[in-house]
C-alpha cells in the first residue's frame, strides 16, 4: 500500500470512529447478544448459541490466523519467493475434511438434544390458542372461555404514523407495548397453539427462546415454562412478514404468580374484560365459540 493510501485509510477510519463516539456514550451495550431468557428452553438455546459462537471464534482464530500469517509472511515486497511445487497434498486434504466433520458432529449432538426437548409437549398445564391477524394477535385460553385481542398500544400507534411529529424516544416502550397483554403464570408449562386468519405471521418472544409460524389453515405448537420468580413483562414481535403493518403487531406477555393468575382468570370470566376486548367481541357469550369475530382490516 502506498503511503498515500495509508493516510487516506487512517483518515477514514478515524472519521468513522469519531462519528461512533457520541453514539457509544449513550448506547445500550447490553443489547449485543441473544438474551439468556427466562425459560428452561431459552437457557438451553442460549447456551447452544454461545457454544456455536465460541466454536466459530476458535475456528476463526485458526483460519483468519492462517490467512493473516500468509499475507504478512509471504509478501512479495519483503522478497518472498513462491514455492511453485506446492500444488496439492492428499494428506492435508484428508485432515481438513475429517476434522471439520468431527467438529460438526460434536456441534450437532447438543443441538439434537435440545431439539428433542423442544418437541416434547407432554404435561402441559395451560393451552392458549394464538391467532395472527393483519395486524394484531388474538389470544384464546382454551377451555377457559377467556379470549381477547391484543394490539399495538395507542401511544405507540399515534407516534408511529408517518410525520406524526412525536419523538419515539418520548413514548414509553415505543412499538413494544400492547393494550391487552397475554397473561400467564410462572413455573407452568404453557402450550401455545398457533394459527392465523389471513396470512402467515410468527409469534416470537426472545426471552422465551422460541418463535413459530402462525399459518392460516394450520395449527402449530410451541411451549414455554417461565422459571419461578421470573415474573414480569416480556416483549416480542411478529416475525414473519405479514403485510403493511407487520412491524406494528407486538407481543407482550405478563408473567404473574400462580395465585395472581387464578385471580386474573376468574376476573376475566366474570366479565371484567378490558375495553378493547369488549368492543372487539360483540358476540361474547359463555359458550366456547369464537364465532362472529369481526373481519380483520384488509390491507
Amino acid at each position: 500500500m502506498t503511503r498515500h493510501a495509508r493516510t487516506a485509510l487512517s483518515a477514514t477510519a478515524f472519521a468513522i470512529l469519531g462519528s461512533l463516539a457520541p453514539l457509544a456514550a449513550h448506547a445500550e451495550w447490553g443489547n449485543l447478544n441473544m438474551p439468556v431468557g427466562v425459560t428452561v428452553l431459552s437457557k438451553e438455546i442460549h447456551a447452544l448459541h454461545m457454544t456455536m459462537f465460541w466454536w466459530c471464534v476458535a475456528i476463526g482464530v485458526f483460519v483468519f490466523g492462517w490467512m493473516i500469517w500468509s499475507l504478512v509472511a509471504f509478501r512479495k515486497s519483503q522478497g518472498a519467493k513462491p514455492d511453485t511445487t506446492m500444488t496439492h497434498s492428499t494428506k492435508a486434504e484428508i485432515v481438513w475434511t475429517v476434522i471439520p466433520v468431527v467438529i460438526l458432529v460434536i456441534m450437532a449432538i447438543p443441538a439434537a438434544r435440545t431439539l428433542i426437548a423442544i418437541e416434547d409437549t407432554r404435561n402441559t398445564e395451560i393451552s392458549i390458542k394464538v391467532t395472527g391477524y393483519q395486524w394484531k394477535w388474538h389470544y384464546d385460553y382454551l377451555g377457559e372461555d377467556v379470549k381477547f385481542f391484543s394490539s399495538l398500544a395507542r401511544a405507540s400507534d399515534e407516534a408511529r404514523q408517518l410525520g406524526s411529529g412525536v419523538n419515539p424516544e418520548s413514548v414509553e416502550n415505543y412499538l413494544r407495548d400492547v393494550d391487552n397483554p397475554l397473561v400467564v403464570p410462572e413455573d407452568t408449562k404453557v402450550r401455545v397453539l398457533l394459527t392465523a386468519q389471513d396470512v402467515i405471521h410468527a409469534w416470537w418472544v426472545p426471552a422465551f427462546g422460541m418463535k413459530k409460524d402462525a399459518i392460516p389453515g394450520n395449527v402449530n405448537e410451541l411451549w414455554f415454562k417461565v422459571e419461578k420468580g421470573k415474573t414480569g413483562l416480556y416483549r416480542g414481535q411478529c416475525a414473519e412478514l405479514c403485510g403493511r403493518d407487520h412491524g406494528f403487531m407486538p407481543i407482550v406477555v405478563k408473567v404473574v404468580t400462580k395465585d395472581e393468575y387464578r385471580t386474573w382468570l376468574a376476573g376475566q370470566k366474570a366479565g371484567e374484560s378490558t375495553p378493547a376486548d369488549a368492543s372487539s367481541e360483540p358476540a361474547a357469550d359463555s359458550s366456547p365459540t369464537i364465532a362472529a369475530l369481526p373481519a380483520a382490516p384488509q390491507g
Binding site: N123, L142, L193, D198, G217, N218, P288
Partner: protein, 183 residues
C-alpha cells in the same frame, strides 16, 4: 464452425432444453410428491383427515389417556358461528368417540361450507382416524340455519408415547372463500 460441431451443439442444446422442461414438470410434480412424502415418512398428511378411515374400534388401551382438544376457526371473511360443543376430553387410544361441532350460518344467504381439519402436533396426524366427519363433504346451509355436526374418531394406539395431548382443529370456509376448488 464445422458442420459437425454445429450439429453437436444443437443436439446438446435440445437435450438441455429437455432437461429444463423436465425440471419445470418436476416443480409441479412436487405437489403430489409432497403428499406422498408426508405419507411415506409417516408424519401424517392433513389431507388424509378429509377422508374417512375404515378403522372401527380397535383393541383399546385403558391404561392410557390422551387429552383431545377441539378448536374451531373462521377465516377473516367468515360470518358464521362455529364452535365445538366441548372444549376438550380425555380419550383412550383405540376407543371410538363421538363429539359435536355446531355451526350457524350468519352470512344472510344459503351457502355451502367446507371445514378444513388439522391436527397438532403434526406428527399425531397419522394416528388421528376419523370414521365420520362433517369435513368429508361440503355442507349445505340455509340462511340462518344452525346445525350440530358430529365427528367420530379413534386415536390409533400406536400414537407415540411422547404425545399426551392432541388438538383437532377446523377452519370453516364457505362459498365466498373458494370452497369449490376442493371438489
Amino acid at each position: 464452425m464445422s458442420e459437425m460441431r454445429e450439429q453437436n451443439n444443437r443436439r446438446l442444446t435440445l437435450r438441455l432444453l429437455g432437461f429444463a422442461a423436465g425440471a419445470f414438470a418436476f416443480g409441479f410434480a412436487l405437489v403430489p410428491l409432497y403428499d406422498v412424502i408426508c405419507d411415506i415418512t409417516g408424519v401424517g398428511n392433513p389431507k388424509d383427515l378429509l377422508r374417512a378411515s375404515n378403522v372401527q374400534a380397535i383393541e383399546h388401551d385403558e391404561s392410557r389417556l390422551v387429552t383431545v382438544e377441539f378448536v374451531a376457526d373462521l377465516p377473516s371473511v367468515g360470518s358464521w358461528e362455529f364452535r365445538p360443543v366441548i372444549a376438550e376430553m380425555k380419550a383412550n387410544p383405540g376407543r371410538l368417540y363421538e363429539i359435536d361441532y355446531v355451526a350457524r350460518n350468519l352470512t344472510g344467504r344459503d351457502t355451502v361450507a367446507q371445514a378444513i381439519p388439522n391436527v397438532a402436533p403434526g406428527k399425531a396426524t397419522a394416528f388421528f382416524r376419523k370414521t365420520e366427519c362433517f369435513c368429508f363433504i361440503p355442507q349445505n346451509f340455509a340462511k340462518d340455519e344452525e346445525r350440530v355436526m358430529p365427528v367420530r374418531f379413534v386415536i390409533d394406539p400406536n400414537l407415540p408415547k411422547s404425545i399426551d395431548r392432541v388438538t383437532l382443529s377446523y377452519v370453516f370456509y364457505d362459498n365466498s372463500t373458494r370452497v369449490a376448488a376442493l371438489n
